[in-house]
């Protein structure tokens, strides 16, 4: 016998719960397509498993390519959730509440793919346990693993506890869903009642975790950057690389939230729950981030070019005018110029333009991650080691397929989640606040 559960009063409850009631044909089709893409990725990975990393376009000296780019990108994307819900929680920005879960879900679902990208990149995935048997803490890779695994773990908890009241709500309200689904809600709700101290304690726990999560966000992406920054390679070996990665991560993560929100709003008819004002708030944030990112870029490139150390300049020229010039200037266009124009002149009260800008930013940020990693490798300090055909990188179909399947996986987890759990926190957006 369940004790009677208290659920905060929310007028939009029906709207928010609407997508959870049923899995449509269209859903199944979408899931099948995404699974199909992942299947190609799995096949690609199997060829890599059985043949070796030789199936990739990686080479000497470009030892790291798409996979590591994906790793950095996905970890960066993951910063959206923590940023929106933890940092904004601490800042007391109450407008964030409707989009916290949508944002946190991005965190939760992109992190495994970030970690997966690392495993995919390993030459000997069968020896992954060596990291635990023989781990050396002098290696930044260990810092990375520590930080990312803690981050993943904490994100799950952070996400889960904020989901608890809504799971309980599903348990109590969704009586027409299949029995396995009901059972799932029942187990996952952990006997949530919403009575007594529960909501108060939940808020307290979330507040405290938010502090911790904020620290983790900073740590994680700085540590990710240190994988590069701790080497002596030109273009990487800079103290700025930590903040640089961090700002970039929050930037791309926040843009990702814009995209997700817009889609949810449209597909699940949540215009009321997710009002345009949300986009306007995000727009303001994004303007700040774009400018901050521009500042980072200028700080980085001005220092390098002004100092003009020849090793460093080789990398800079690779980006400005060399093999990566097209990518570099595309990145500049999609990360600064177009988004700023959109944000300043077109984006206000216009979800469509915001989405365009957000997509551009995410494409640009992926390219940016690529440009941080690969050009440096193409121009190592000992340039003579480059012979004909070397110092360039062309990803193979396996790398592209696996990258595609990582994105497909992220989307799949996301869309499946929205069909079983309310993507807008019902209790947090409730009209009546506290328990009676």
């Amino acid at each position: 016998m369940l004790p009677t559960t208290f659920h905060p009063q929310n007028n939009n409850e029906a709207v928010i719960l609407a997508p959870v009631h049923r899995v449509t044909r269209k859903d199944l089709l979408l899931w099948a397509v995404l699974l199909g893409i992942m299947g190609i990725g799995v096949y690609a990975y199997l060829t890599q498993w059985f043949t070796g990393l030789g199936v990739t376009g990686l080479n000497r000296p470009v030892y790291w390519g798409f996979y590591i780019t994906n790793f950095v990108f996905f970890i960066g994307l993951a910063h959206s959730g923590t940023f929106i819900s933890a940092i904004l929680r601490l800042a007391g920005a109450s407008w964030r509440t409707p989009l916290t879960r949508a944002a946190e879900a991005i965190t939760l679902f992109s992190l495994p793919f970030g970690v997966g990208a690392i495993l995919i990149d390993m030459g000997r995935p069968d020896r992954v346990m060596n990291i635990f048997f023989y781990g050396r803490f002098q290696s930044p890779l260990l810092w990375d693993i520590t930080a990312v695994s803690l981050y993943l773990f904490s994100s799950i908890v952070f996400f889960y506890i904020s989901l608890l009241p809504d799971i309980a709500l599903c348990r109590d309200r969704l009586t027409e869903v299949p029995s396995w689904q009901q059972k799932m809600y029942k187990i996952l709700a952990l006997g949530w009642t919403g009575r007594g101290e529960q909501f108060k304690r939940l808020e307290r726990a979330l507040d405290n975790m938010a502090i911790f999560m904020t620290l983790l966000v900073v740590t994680v992406h700085t540590v990710v950057s240190w994988v590069f920054g701790m080497t002596v390679q030109p273009g990487w070996h800079t103290a700025l690389i930590g903040p640089f990665f961090l700002v970039g991560a929050i930037f791309s993560g926040t843009s990702a939230v814009v995209i997700v929100l817009a889609i949810l709003r449209r597909v699940y008819h949540m215009e009321k729950v997710l009002p345009v004002s949300l986009f306007n708030s995000l727009r303001k944030l994004l303007i700040v981030f774009t400018v901050a990112w521009l500042y980072m870029m200028i700080a980085e490139f001005l220092t390098t070019t002004y100092g003009a150390i020849s090793d460093e300049m080789l990398v800079v020229w690779q980006k400005f005018t060399g093999d990566f010039a097209v990518l570099f200037w595309t990145m500049a266009l999609t990360v600064f110029v177009l988004p700023l124009i959109i944000f300043l002149f077109l984006g206000k009260d216009h979800v469509g333009w915001m989405v365009v800008a957000a997509i551009l930013i995410n494409i640009g940020m992926w390219i940016e991650r690529f440009l941080v990693i690969v050009p440096t490798e193409t121009r190592p300090r000992f340039v003579s080691t480059l012979m004909e055909g070397m110092g360039s990188y062309h990803p193979s179909w396996q790398e592209i397929a696996i990258t595609g399947s990582l994105f497909a996986g992220l989307i799949l987890l996301y869309v499946v989640f929205t069909r079983f759990f309310p993507i807008v926190p019902i209790w947090e957006t409730a009209h009546s606040g506290e328990t009676k």
Partner: protein, 786 residues
């Protein structure tokens, strides 16, 4: 109440401070690297191991090797430290030799090819012996033993004389060496001046100054390992560092290592050498004793013009600058340095030198060697030496029967000595001669792949069609073996007996090949095969070869080298160290150093500045007669070294570049090397290429043609065109382009086939009419983007 800091507190504080200090100290350790704790390990190795001393056969240097045989497999080669040529060193080719032995494309046994179908079928060695002896006996019975022809490559040691003896016993004078493709021009230059038909050995160790005329001595000279050791000793092995000047249109490795690189206009080396001679004579820096007492033709001889006046009249540095493109001041300076930093040395090109394609090349070699004479560096410490060979036991007298005598009296089929009056061998001309109707009934190819390695090699493919019986002894199915009727594979040098004379150091020495492993396949040492053929042929041929095996032949010949067979086998090499120079004008000088090989001119110990030998051939010729030989000079000038303008194939307007096919250290001179994957993978280090060929071009010329590095190009000469890619090389004359040799095989094996293109296909296939030399550097090409 004032609180006193007690001693206890003080200690506490100190401890904290000290603790932080050690922690900070630890920080330093954290960011530095510590030696790892040792995990006990053991070394596992082969159960049984042996080391065999032997000799490398992958180029003409003949380095001593120590072969490590583990569990019955050859796993590693090292240089033999006892061997004077390489003294423990070994170049990449030698190091890669296990890939020759264990090459997947080796021929595994004798085969017979059916001409009509082109199919090959395995036969037994007995059948092969029968077929060959039958053929030779048939030829002898028909009274035409001279119609058996043997073409061979870099074959030295006893095998060379063994082959000669075999062919002589059969009755054929036609043993044709490939030297007309490479060293013969230089050898002729030495012959026409010093009167000895051999490449000089150089005393690198004692010389102060080296002028290298395209000798390419650090990559692909005739004895690269010897010249490399000599060079490094000259530079850093002794107290004073010698100077090295390289004269070559291509900088290459030797130009890069030299103190000065003089990019000379191709084919004008003679003018430069004579321009320097002009300066040396004018400034009175000649070695007066040598010139006055031991040379011929410096001053005028009666009415005939001597070397001095000829050079002073014709080779003023200002004029030489016009011809060679080398500034007169540079010529004067280098000549001065050369003559005043004695002992100094002028190096003749060995392989891959850029001598002129016509007889001008021989004149150039003469002019270069005369520079050595002018500074007294002939047979002198720090100068040239005369290579001595180990005394071998004389072969038993060959009692030729009438058939053989008749055959031996016929002129050589390659035209050497007849058509090519001054030639000793005309390897590349064999095809033309056959196609011109000279009958050849049996053609043996030993260590020879003429279809690939001669300019216009496809003529050989045609010529082979007219020869009913072509036999190849190659270990690989190379381009020539593919067309042979009998393919009788010889084991690689790691599986057979053999020997080699040590060259390049002056003093005599002999180096042994011994089987490090049993032959992997049904192959047979060609020596053993010919012994069996001789036995089967019977009669005088059998009598000439009383030995049971080729190893016995070696033991017989090397009886008196000063050591017993056991010690020789153990050491792999035996030599008499220390070159003893002959005193100028002594009996030894006359008997061994100067004039020994002259056929017409007197063997009087005089070094010819005015070549009396050449006078015997050209002295009386008229202008038009000379013109047919491609010589524009008339009168005394024909016997004196002079500059002859190269008669290029392809007019300069259409074909603006001179093509130079360069030999690289990595791929070397032998076709098999192209099928060694390791060598392919390091082949084009200087330009960053592997497994392919390329065209080297000066950046200026490339930009004129609108070509960028790595652009695909057509290289076209009047004789053909090939498709390759252009590589920009700064160290190259704008009017010269280079292509690497030993790529573009259509056979040999999986690693060689279809890799790049063969630049020799573009070269003028003509032979030089006086000497029978292949014309390697007188072809012009054009280049266009493809």
């Amino acid at each position: 109440m004032s609180k006193m800091i007690t001693r206890r507190d003080f200690l506490k504080v100190s401890a904290v401070v000290a603790g932080s200090a050690t922690a900070l100290g630890a920080l330093k350790n954290v960011v530095s690297v510590q030696a790892a704790a040792e995990i006990p390990t053991t070394l596992q190795t082969a159960a049984d191991e042996n080391i065999f001393a032997s000799t490398c056969h992958l180029c003409s240097a003949g380095c001593g090797i120590l072969v490590r045989v583990a569990n019955g497999k050859v796993v590693k080669l090292e240089g033999n430290p006892m061997h004077p040529v390489n003294q423990g060193s070994l170049c990449p080719k030698g190091q890669a030799a296990p890939e020759l032995l264990y090459n997947p494309d080796r021929l595994t046994g004798p085969q017979k090819r059916d001409r009509s179908t082109g199919h090959t079928s395995p036969i037994t060695w007995d059948e092969a012996i029968q077929l060959v002896s039958q053929k030779l006996n048939d030829l002898r019975q028909a009274g035409h033993p001279e119609q058996a022809v043997l073409m061979h490559g870099d074959t030295r040691g006893q095998m060379r004389s063994f082959l000669v003896r075999f062919m002589q016993a059969v009755g054929s004078p036609n043993i044709i060496s490939h030297e007309s493709l490479n060293v013969a021009a230089a050898k002729l230059g030495v012959y026409l001046t010093q009167g000895i038909y051999a490449m000089p050995a150089y005393d690198f160790e004692k010389t102060n100054y080296i002028l290298s005329f395209g000798a390419n001595f650090l990559e692909a000279g005739s004895n690269p390992q010897r010249t490399i050791s000599g060079y490094t000793y000259l530079r850093r092995g002794r107290a004073t560092r010698g100077k090295v000047v390289v004269i070559d249109p291509r900088q290459g490795i030797h130009g890069a290592k030299a103190d000065e690189w003089i990019p000379i206009k191709p084919g004008t080396d003679a003018a430069l050498a004579l321009g320097m001679a002009n300066v040396i004579i004018r400034t009175g820096l000649v070695d007066a004793d040598f010139i006055k007492n031991y040379s011929f033709g410096f001053d005028n001889i009666g009415k005939a013009k001597g070397f001095r006046d000829f050079v002073l009249d014709n080779y003023d540095p200002a004029r030489v600058e016009q011809i060679t493109g080398v500034p007169a001041t540079t010529i004067a300076r280098l000549a001065g340095e050369f003559a005043s930093n004695k002992p100094s040395l002028a190096l003749l090109p060995g392989k891959g030198g850029l001598l002129n394609g016509g007889f001008g090349g021989v004149y150039a070699a003469m002019a270069v060697h005369i520079l050595n004479a002018l500074v007294g560096s002939i047979e002198a410490p720090g100068g040239t030496m005369t290579q001595r060979n180990m005394p071998c036991v004389e072969w038993p007298r060959l009692s030729s029967d009438p058939t053989a005598k008749k055959g031996l009296a016929t002129p050589r089929m390659d035209g050497a000595g007849s058509k090519f009056q001054l030639g000793r061998n005309a390897y590349q001309a064999v095809a033309d001669q056959i196609l011109d109707g000279i009958p050849v009934e049996a053609l043996f190819l030993y260590d020879a792949n003429p279809v690939f390695e001669t300019p216009g090699g496809s003529r050989f493919a045609e010529a082979f069609k007219k020869v009913p019986f072509v036999v190849s002894f190659s270990s690989f199915l190379d381009e020539s073996a593919e067309l042979a009727d009998l393919i009788l594979p010889e084991p690689t040098f790691l599986e057979r007996w053999g020997d080699d004379h040590i060259e390049g150091l002056g003093y005599p020495g002999i180096s042994l090949y011994q089987p490090a492993v049993d032959p992997l396949y049904e192959t047979m040492n060609t020596g053993d095969f010919l012994l069996k053929v001789a036995e089967t042929m019977g009669g005088p041929v059998a009598k000439a070869f009383p030995w049971k095996s080729y190893q016995e032949v070696l033991q017989f010949r090397l009886e008196n080298i000063g050591t017993d067979w056991k010690t020789f086998k153990e050491l792999g090499v035996w030599f008499t160290p220390g070159y003893r120079f002959a005193r100028r004008g002594s009996q030894k000088w006359v008997n061994e150093i100067v004039g020994v090989d002259r056929l017409n001119a007197p063997r009087d110990g005089y070094f010819d500045l005015y070549s009396r030998e050449l006078y015997c051939f050209l002295g009386k010729m008229k202008k038009d007669e000379l013109a047919t030989l491609g010589i524009t000079m008339t009168g005394d000038g024909t016997s004196l070294p002079h500059y002859e303008e190269t008669n290029y194939a392809g007019d300069e307007a259409t074909y603006p570049f001179t093509l130079n096919v360069i030999t690289l250290m990595s791929l070397g001179p032998r076709s098999e090397a192209a099928n060694m994957p390791t060598l392919q993978e390091i082949s084009g280090m200087t330009v960053g290429e592997t497994w392919s060929s390329w065209l080297e071009m000066n950046p200026e010329s490339a930009s004129k043609l609108g070509l960028r590095d790595m652009d695909p190009v057509w290289v076209e000469s009047p004789f053909g065109k090939v498709n390759t890619k252009v590589r920009i090389v700064k160290g190259l004359r704008p009017d010269v382009v280079n292509m690497p040799f030993n790529q573009g095989h259509s056979a040999v094996g999986r690693f060689a086939r279809g890799r790049g293109v063969n630049g020799l296909k573009l070269l003028n296939p003509a032979s030089e009419p006086l000497s029978g030399l292949a014309a390697f550097t007188n072809t012009h090409v054009k280049v266009r983007k493809s």
